[in-house]
Amino acid sequence: MKSSLNITKESKMAKETFIFELKEAFNIIADEIKREYNAHIWLIEVLGKRYSYIAGCKDDSFLPPEFIYISEKFAVASSDWGKLPIEKKEELFSFLNKYVNKT
């Protein structure tokens, strides 16, 4: 039987691996979207009032960002949603939903 300490350590490691992989995947997508549509998107983790940057574009246009939530804990922010074709946006969120909900 595993001790609770081991379970905590394992879940912590699993979370770290998940965030690492999510970052890698999101950075590739954000780069591609910036290249193709000149739209800046970035991924944030919701921590109460704090929305912490996780991955994606580090610069953006100066307009207020709008958030699209993938789950209670994660959202994608952008001031450029209008620049993205609907099908690209659907593709992005279909991938992220599967990815986040799978884990």
Binding site: R50, Y53, D59, P64, P65
Partner: protein, 500 residues
């Protein structure tokens, strides 16, 4: 509180430090402050020539962190004319990174119980003249109602002693309480939008708990970077005596995912040039290991405290002239960082040094436990950690800042839309954050003027807003200006918390 620790306190003290959460960041078993190396650099870089100083200034203007040798050069400048030039450069750098805004906040002291016994601190365990108290959540709610609903603050630095009764679980509860407060104001509502914390070094697990309740910046001052002095001032056997547990707490915070951390040194404990070097080494080590430097740096000077003779006896007191130099050199050495000047300093000093590169300051400050809702007006030594130099109201300070050409900002937008960590670092280094600073300063200043300003301050503030809007119209893209106008009007109609 008794001078001798209870069994519960002793057991708690033993449980706090986790050596493995120090050693993992060290190199070859050593921390990043090499006292001899710092002194060697200060000795080696005396009498810097003009060309070298110009090269360093150029590097700072490009928002690059300086090398220790470069900072040592600046600290060794003797020519008063070159110092004047440095003050001017510091001002320009601040404008480039943050524009002309000054962010305001207030401290909220939640408790003065402490297991430590630091020689310079009014709250030290053995100081029996201090009345000890820990605020209940209900008392914290009342304090927050005054701060957010009557004074108009949006940002706090919440302060706690190091004690089992103010541990991470209590801190998390207090932060939740503060964020829950929402008070009706004249034309809208008041709320604390960012609660930064000034707390003791903690383990990664405790910091994760605080991250999850949404703290703003994690602020811990090293007090002094000089190992031997640190040892003398923090008696053996106390929790705070562990230099490296403190030195690496920001590393642990970043590892826990709190991606805004704040440094500081208490000036007056040791040689000021050494401490500035220590701050630089600290910033550089964070950048090296995490790619994220300090969100802010503070440089408080020792102030009198009840029954604390050390403060009168120290031979390292910093003069006003040297204080200006400290601020300028930090501004040039870590050009992207926020710099905090507090109400420890009297009004005349604040007026003089704000233009040298300050980005944040406090006002309407009270540091007695429960002091805002108690509404006491005089400073009381036995309930304060130290004595304040400036007790002016936020209204007075804002009016003065406006007359000096600074717009007061209550902006808390960055950490609520993912401008944190290495993203904010990029925006600061490229000067792009200054645009957000300006836009959000206008909106939050407008909110405050509508809800809290005196007639006199409102008049001065609205004139300033007109000038700011005109500048934005001329400098920024049309669609950004139009969005600003839309938000401005919505705020005028009572909406709150609109931001870029």
């Amino acid at each position: 509180m008794l001078a001798v620790l209870s069994k519960k306190e002793r057991d708690w003290v033993k449980s706090v430090i986790k050596e493995e959460e120090i050693e993992r960041y060290m190199q070859n078993g050593r921390d990043f402050i090499d006292d001899d190396e710092i002194w060697e650099k200060l000795r080696k870089n005396v009498k810097p020539d003009k060309k070298r100083i110009e090269d360093i200034i150029q590097k700072s203007m490009e928002i690059q962190t300086l090398e220790p040798d470069e900072t040592a050069c600046l600290l060794n400048i003797e020519d008063p004319e070159i110092w004047q030039q440095l003050f001017k450069v510091a001002k320009d750098i601040k404008k480039k990174v943050y524009d002309n805004r000054i962010v305001t906040f207030a401290p909220l002291y939640c408790g003065d119980l402490c297991v430590n016994n630091c020689l310079y601190c009014g709250f030290r365990r053995e100081n029996v003249v201090i009345k000890r108290k820990r605020l209940t959540l209900e008392e914290i709610r009342r304090e927050t109602e005054v701060l957010a609903g009557e004074i108009g603050h949006k940002r706090l630095i919440v302060v706690y002693g190091e004690h089992p009764s103010t541990d991470a679980a209590y801190i998390a509860d207090t932060i939740r309480t503060i964020y829950d407060v929402k008070v009706k104001t004249k034309n809208g509502y008041g709320q604390i939008r960012r609660a930064n914390v000034n707390i003791a070094p903690m383990s990664i697990d405790d910091l994760t708990l605080l991250r999850d309740v949404g703290i703003g910046t994690y602020q811990v001052f090293q007090e002094t970077y000089h190992h031997e002095t640190y040892k003398k001032l923090h008696p053996e056997g106390t929790l705070k005596a562990h230099y490296q547990w403190r030195l690496y707490c920001h590393h642990r915070a970043l590892e826990a995912g709190v991606d805004d951390v704040a440094l500081g040194a208490l000036f007056g404990l040791y040689d000021w040039k050494f401490e500035v070097m220590g701050l630089l080494y600290h910033a550089r080590d964070l950048e090296r290991q995490f790619g994220i430097g300090p969100h802010t740096i503070s440089f408080p000077r020792l102030e009198p405290a009840a029954n604390t003779p050390f403060i009168q006896q120290t031979k390292y007191k910093v003069s006003d002239e040297d204080f200006k130099k400290i601020i300028a050199v930090i501004r040039l050495s870590v050009p992207y960082t926020g710099m905090i000047l507090t109400a420890r300093e009297p009004a005349y000093i604040r007026r003089e040094v704000i233009p040298i590169g300050i980005t944040q300051t406090d006002a309407s400050t009270k540091i007695g436990i429960g002091a805002y809702s108690d509404r006491y007006t005089d400073q009381e030594e036995d309930r304060q950690q130290f004595i304040l130099g400036d007790t002016r109201s936020l209204d007075e300070v804002i009016r003065e800042l406006a007359q000096m050409g600074y717009i007061t900002s209550f902006c808390t937008a960055g950490y609520r839309c993912g401008r944190t960590g290495d993203r904010i670092m990029t925006l600061l280094r490229t000067g792009r954050e200054a645009v957000f600073c300006k836009l959000n300063a206008v909106l939050t200043f407008k909110e405050w003027l509508d809800d809290f300003a005196s007639i006199e301050t409102k008049k001065v503030g609205e004139e300033m807003l007109k000038r700011e809007m005109e500048e934005i119209k001329n400098k920024l893209p049309q669609n950004v200006y139009e969005k600003l106008l839309e938000y401005y009007e919505r705020i005028e109609n009572g909406e709150r918390d609109l931001y870029f």
